[in-house]
Symmetry: C2
Subunit: 443 residues, 2 copies
């Protein structure tokens, strides 16, 4: 398995090498992660992945073998190889907490340190955020659509095997209740769920044999898969075998709304009134919303969760916005590339509220001094600072990497949505829920 | 890092546990991986990921800690825990070779063994194939559109950090020439490429300083990023600094066709006639095709490569098609779920050719005996057997996991495309390039 320090693009190391040689590697820098726009029609995004970045950080150092590889491939010089032997990130990272709603130009992560240490982190930070935020944002739309009904991640098989673990974690941030993925359950101590595959029924000489076997192994509280042959026959058999205490049934095909109605009626008629109905057939937020009035107890979501429901990446970029000059002072920097301009200076992100309801995202650009002195005028109502300090001069806030923090992020996600105008929860295409104002206060 | 045996859904283990208890775990089974349909409008898919599955296979065994976790979470009983301590896959895996074109219902992987050993592999096999085939399929469309011009993977930052490695590998299968991703270059001994980020220019007091630094570190053969400020000024500076032997320039924004034209004229006028032009701004196969007449030398592709160009997963499923009954004989099995029916019996996939051109995909379903006896009638022309044996009763063909095999897969990919009707390479929406015929020969 690779060191996290190799989960990156080559040019981070060639830039490091060149900067060490020309003396700019130690210039103080501020890099920021943001997206220029939400995916078309989306009202908000959900920040996720910070905890995973913090988990990687202490291990972000190329091994001896990695360094030998880099030298051998002429990516770095021997001087840089020596420098890397002692590498440790000693900078500061501020970020939107996981579960927070974000918008276009929200500086969801801000990395401050030397050019050398900040540039090495670029690719890994972007990989984590682009994927995790995509999944959490989709998850959030699905859980909103589901109302109080639990949503479960069953998507691991539809994405890369390690992405599956990250997806399970990000889905929790976006309001999911559990995952089918064992590695994720193990890594993050998450509730793990599962029923059975059609293969299990087909393996047996009869559906009854399969149900008996599953109940013998897992008890009557288990969930039986009932759509291998006839759903009606399967439910009859299931209740015969398990009794009315049967935990649940799962339907994985067909018109879920009408099938759930029929199944509920049949279960109730058989006395299995507390047996739950889980549905799992290519669900997305729209399908979930359409099932609102169907007697469904929980949703198992696969493909559309792990692929961000049509938006598998978040277009997050990592841009240098401020750096030390030869005069030893910090200067704003910005590229002018067509359609990809950036705003110089570090950002301070504030969310303004009136009567507890979010009104807008105010992104101030300015020198550290000017930002410290800035006072919001009354027009902004109450303002909340969006960035928390996750790493302070190399000191990682490890409380942000725990399972408790993950569930706290889910709670924060609900609170963050609650504070937005109600149109934020609309699934139809529209503008972002609150506007972003970018304000340069230094010049 | 988790054992590969945990990169899976919980239900694989609960099914194993139940089957061990009821005595069906050792029934011989045949599982098959296929997709019911190509993504809308796609003409073909490209098989990729088999080598990665084979790499995982010897390590696919839960560790002591994993087993303790599974027992602790009541996923498995102590009997199953003991059984897992000695687990080793001893079955047979046949598959479409990497780089092969596939279609709806092509059985791209066939796993034969006991229910116990085959079911445990389901999730991991699907994760690998769903992601890797999605990337290879997109890569293939891009490299076809690029004609002979090299395409390079720069997408690692747009997907999960480990998915990035798999994407780099799969892009090679689909015809790419190299990757920016160091971990992938290291793991698979791939050509690694890179230029510089805008941050590197912004870090310096002037663009000239940045170019001088990069050339000092990497030589004049390097590729300079020229769109931080004015492209025209940057090219002038680049040639002043590097001389006419400058390796290349990269343009990452704006209208790439016209900018490449202008850049080429300017470079030629400055005498830098061999300096190459790389473009990298959110390219997909359509953008690449549109640049066919522009003086572009290579394409750096990011987001659209690693997200499968709109199709981030392949809808591959893993289905039990044949299993031993209580009579000790093999029986076909198929579920009848609405819209998700399967065909029983193991498959033999043949591609039929006339005058060297592929005519159709013939998927025979039948008992092993009947398949062995079957002879194609003349109407099928010449037929080629699509499945190769990758694992023979537990014995892994490790020659399929080497870097040589990866580049051979790329060659095979070109050959496979060449044999298809020319409409296969059309980027417009259409039917699959050749039809799939599913033929049950046993009954």
């Amino acid at each position: 398995m690779n060191s996290p320090a190799m989960l990156t693009d080559m040019y981070e190391y060639t830039m490091l090498d060149a900067a060490l040689q020309d003396g700019t590697a130690n210039r103080r820098c501020v890099f920021e992660v943001f997206t220029r726009h939400l995916p078309t029609g989306r009202r908000y995004g959900i920040a996720a992945g910070l905890g995973r970045i913090l988990e990687y950080l202490p291990h972000f150092k190329p091994s001896e073998d990695d360094i030998a590889f880099l030298v051998d491939r002429h990516v770095i010089s021997k001087t840089t190889a020596q420098w890397l032997e002692n590498f440790q990130f000693t900078g500061t990272i501020r970020a939107y907490p996981e579960g927070e709603a974000f918008f276009a130009n929200s500086p969801i992560v801000q990395v401050e340190g030397t050019f050398a240490e900040c540039t090495l982190l670029e690719t890994l930070i972007l990989s984590v955020l682009n994927f995790d935020c995509a999944v959490a944002s989709a998850a959030s739309r699905m859980t909103s659509a589901a109302g109080g009904r639990p949503c479960m991640d069953m998507g691991g098989r539809r994405t890369n095997e390690y992405a599956a673990i990250a997806a399970a974690r990000a889905s929790i941030v976006g309001g999911f209740q559990g995952t089918a993925n064992l590695a994720a359950a193990q890594a993050y101590n998450l509730p793990c769920i599962g029923t059975a595959a059609h293969a299990f029924t087909l393996l047996h000489d009869s559906e009854r044999d399969a149900f008996v076997s599953q109940i013998n192994a897992l008890g009557v509280g288990t969930t039986l898969l009932t759509d291998t042959y006839s759903i009606e026959d399967a439910i009859t058999t299931a209740v015969e075998v398990a009794g009315t205490e049967l935990g649940g049934i799962r339907i994985d095909s067909g018109d879920l709304a009408s099938l759930a109605q029929q199944a509920r009626k049949q279960l109730d008629a058989l006395g299995a009134t507390s047996t739950t109905i889980t549905v799992t057939n290519d669900l997305d937020e729209y399908a979930i919303a359409a099932l609102a009035t169907a007697p469904v107890d929980s949703y198992g979501v696969g493909t559309q969760l792990v692929t961000g429901s049509g938006q598998p990446t978040c277009a997050m970029v990592y841009k240098l916005v401020e750096r030390e000059g030869s005069d030893g002072r910090m200067h704003p920097v910005a590229k002018r590339s067509f359609g990809k301009r950036t705003d110089g200076w570090r950002k301070q992100a504030l969310r303004s509220y009136r009567y507890g309801l979010a009104q807008g995202e105010l992104v101030l650009c300015g020198s550290a001094d000017d930002l410290a002195k800035w006072e919001p005028s009354e027009e902004y109502g109450e303002v909340r600072d969006m960035l928390i300090c996750a790493v302070d001069h190399g000191d990682i806030d490890t409380s942000l990497t725990t399972t408790d923090a993950l569930f706290a992020a889910r709670d924060h996600h609900w609170k963050s949505l609650q504070d937005l105008p109600v149109t934020a929860l609309s699934l139809s295409q529209g503008d972002q829920a609150i506007p972003t104002e970018v304000l340069n206060i230094s010049e």
